[in-house]
Symmetry: C2
Subunit: 157 residues, 2 copies
């Protein structure tokens, strides 16, 4: 039986949270952490572990580990409140961090592919590896460029 008395989030908000989770889970983010991220996206201000645990209906320890996981991903930042032992969490405003991981991945991949050209005998295979490396590098650069432009335009604002 769901506890309806402490319901601080609306039905549509709950749905949003679940949809965010559905999006992130396939990318390796654990369910609880993904839901927490959705929750924080909606929060008008930083949230405490207690309110997280209540609203998401999870234990406080789960809230704690999920929050620190998101913190390691740098999707979320911790805000220590002066004069209190409470820690508040909020979404990081460097949202390009989601893409930074992909960027690193693409960089490693093209490096690896290029390095492998020496260990394949067939010329056609070598060519394919080189093509792939080029492609991923191009895509990575495009994304990086967009990211750079964006952070510049954000500073101006």
């Amino acid at each position: 039986m769901p506890n309806l008395s402490n319901m601080n989030i609306t039905e549509v908000q709950r749905r949003f949270i679940e949809e965010i989770a559905e999006l992130f889970v396939p990318w390796g983010v654990p369910q609880t952490a993904a839901r927490l991220y959705g929750y924080l996206l909606l929060c008008p201000e930083a949230a405490s572990l207690d309110s997280i645990a209540v609203d998401l209906e999870i234990s406080k320890s789960s809230a704690s580990v999920a929050a620190r996981l998101l913190e390691r991903y740098t999707l979320v930042r911790r805000r220590s409140v002066r004069g209190s032992k409470r820690i508040l969490y909020e979404v990081s405003d460097q949202y390009d961090e989601i893409l930074a991981g992909q960027n690193r991945m693409l960089l490693s991949l093209s490096d690896l592919l290029r390095g492998a050209e020496e260990i394949v005998p067939a010329a056609a295979t070598r060519q394919r590896l080189e093509d792939m490396a080029d492609f991923y590098d191009t895509a990575r650069r495009a994304m990086d460029e967009a990211r750079r432009k964006w952070s510049k335009s954000k500073k101006i604002r």
Copy 2:
């Protein structure tokens, strides 16, 4: 005890395969499938389930599920040999498919964020969601653009 008699891949090749796997596993690709992808990247021509199983030292059923998983990801394509029940697998030459998934993810994400602006009360939060949606959309478009350019230049070649 490792079976050395049927070793069709060299030590450096094995290392390459493991490195590819290390790269893909954190992105949710199962170990075996990731290794298989690395293997196929090195193969001069399409490989049968049997040779896969031997070279990667996995069971044939594992090879089968891994191959079809990669096929669903469209990282790999199946090549049915006319006049034989053998199926051969090779890496897909549309290697932009690795990025296509990320593209879809970014599109869904920005859509979701934009749709959520109506369900948050605080104006500042709404603004943040809009900013994020814009950002991911920009990044996605940049990547898509690069992809498009690439496939055009490939056709010319």
